[in-house]
Amino acid sequence: MEKVIGNKTINVNEEGYLTDFSQWDKEVAAELAKEKNIELTDGHWMVIDYLQEKYKNEEALSIRGIKKSGKFNIKEFYNLFPGGPLKISTLIAGIPKPKSCI
């Protein structure tokens, strides 16, 4: 479905995740974050860059993987994206919601 955000139209699925990554840019991210009551800081951008990098390399995302990467501390990750950090951060990063393995 289409969604108007800021001055852009994006395509999202029923859970609000972008279906076309090429429509993502920093403004879109900032607007999506605003809807979750998050003001993006350097810390947030670091996470977003990391997630997008993983996505481009087709690597699965998990809390364990993030912990092992040593890139950032999981507590910090929770503070940045309260409530469900992987779900919320991937939504803002414009990539699909991680599928929890069976």
Binding site: N13, S62, I63, R64, G65, K68, I74, K75, F77, Y78, P82, G83, G84, P85, K87, P96, K99, S100, C101, I102
Partner: protein, 414 residues
């Protein structure tokens, strides 16, 4: 003489030995199966043991009884696979192979979560994925006076993802029968968004949890067990109190896989999901819980895999292209307590479906619906397991790939 070596004599390994003994030319091939333990456990029974529904003798048998006579059975610890030299190094000898099947399964790793395997492990913190844990929990429940019971999943993937739910349902039933349900608060704590990994089944199961008065805490990624104050804490500092914690710890592949350098970061073997050939070596295959397949880690899955892997081993030997046939088919009974059960049937791409099983339109088993007949099916399964499944006998009317007739199904998106 050529060597086919199977590592692990659990459900998958034993099934493969029994399948292949009838297929391989005895003049040319020798089958060796290696496991450090002499006991074969009926792991689905670990769910029933804590509630005194099964006795210990129902869940353990001598492994040797189920290994085919023509195969060599070695009880030794496996040190490592030396894949570049086609050798398996054991405690006391080294075994060469032409074809290797890895069936070393998965096991719990409570040490991965701080505070879990400390002073209170197997005191008021239990697993039920090991014989010791399951039996210890039985003894605990026999004398427990009630309080807060948490049924908890640490992280995915886990063996038999429906088992913790079944545990919660059976606990409801158990305490009701003991006349003390009002003294027990049951809470189901999961890192997932809901009760199960597939949305269709989650909706049905959520309804059942509600009906049985079991509370749900979702999206809970545990950071530590505060065993001194009896609470579990997630990374977001959410806390849930318990008097009795029944947890499914992190599941990892065997450490031998790590020592051999053949695993991913959870020691599961990267495996082609349709052919079951390992990605790193063409003469190494993997089956069951030991693989990294995006399918359930469950005996039924291993059973379906075994039929396809047997075919592919024969094709590999004859230099024919492998069949890309495995579809992730799983078929699981879910005990819902009070003498009833659900049955679910799904694969890589299809959600658990409604309908009937195994005969389209007739059943007698109903998919995704609670019934007594399903419960009878689950109980009958123990007999099928020891007498047909691990012996590699084809179970009539149940095919390795999922049948779509007689079922209502939705395709999974993305």
């Amino acid at each position: 003489m050529k060597n086919l070596v199977i590592l692990g004599a659990g459900t998958s390994g034993t099934m493969m030995a029994n399948h292949l003994i009838h297929k391989l030319d005895k003049e040319q091939w020798k089958i060796t199966i290696i496991d450090q333990y002499k006991t074969h456990y009926y792991q689905p029974g670990f769910l029933f043991l804590p509630f005194d529904l099964y006795k210990t003798k129902d869940v353990k048998k001598k492994g040797k009884k189920y290994i085919p006579k023509g195969a060599r059975y070695i009880n030794q610890k496996i040190d490592r696979i030396i894949a570049d030299e086609n050798l398996v190094k054991l405690e006391h000898e080294t075994v060469p192979y032409d074809i290797l099947i890895v069936a070393t399964g998965t096991k719990i790793a409570p040490q991965e979560t701080p505070g879990m395997k400390e002073d209170n492990w197997h005191k008021n913190i239990f697993d039920f994925y090991t014989y010791e844990g399951s039996k210890g929990l039985r003894d605990k429940l026999r004398e427990w006076k009630g309080g807060k019971l948490i049924v908890h999943i640490t992280e995915m993937p886990i063996k038999c993802p429906v088992a913790p739910l079944e545990f919660a349902f059976l606990a409801d039933s158990y305490f009701t029968n003991k006349g003390m349900r009002d003294k027990v608060e049951i809470t189901y704590v999961t890192p997932l968004e809901g009760a199960f990994t597939k949305p269709k089944a989650t909706a049905a199961l959520h309804h059942l949890l509600e009906e049985k008065g079991i509370k749900e805490v979702t999206d809970f990624d545990i950071e530590r067990v505060d065993f001194k104050n009896n609470k579990i804490v997630d990374y977001g500092e959410r806390e849930v109190d318990y008097d009795l914690l029944v947890t499914i710890p992190t599941n990892l592949g065997d450490e031998m896989i790590e020592r051999s350098g053949l695993g991913d970061d959870m020691n599961f073997v990267p495996t082609n999901k349709a052919t079951l050939q390992s990605k790193a070596h063409e003469n190494i295959f993997a089956i069951g819980d030991a693989t990294n397949l995006p399918a359930s880690k469950a005996g039924s899955v291993a059973h379906f895999e075994a039929e396809i892997l047997t075919e592919n081993i024969m094709r590999f030997i004859n230099n024919e292209p492998l069949k890309e046939e495995f579809d992730g088919h799983a078929n699981c009974f879910i005990e819902t307590g009070h003498g009833k059960a659900l049955l679910i049937d799904f694969n890589y791409t299809h959600e658990p479906v409604e309908g009937t099983f195994p005969f389209p339109g007739l059943g007698p088993l109903k998919l995704l619906k609670e019934s007594r007949m399903n419960h009878m099916g689950k109980l009958a399964f123990r007999w099928i397991y020891w007498n047909m499944l691990i012996k590699g006998t084809h179970i009539p009317f149940v095919s390795a790939t999922m049948s779509e007739s007689g079922k209502k199904y939705d395709t999974v998106e993305n």
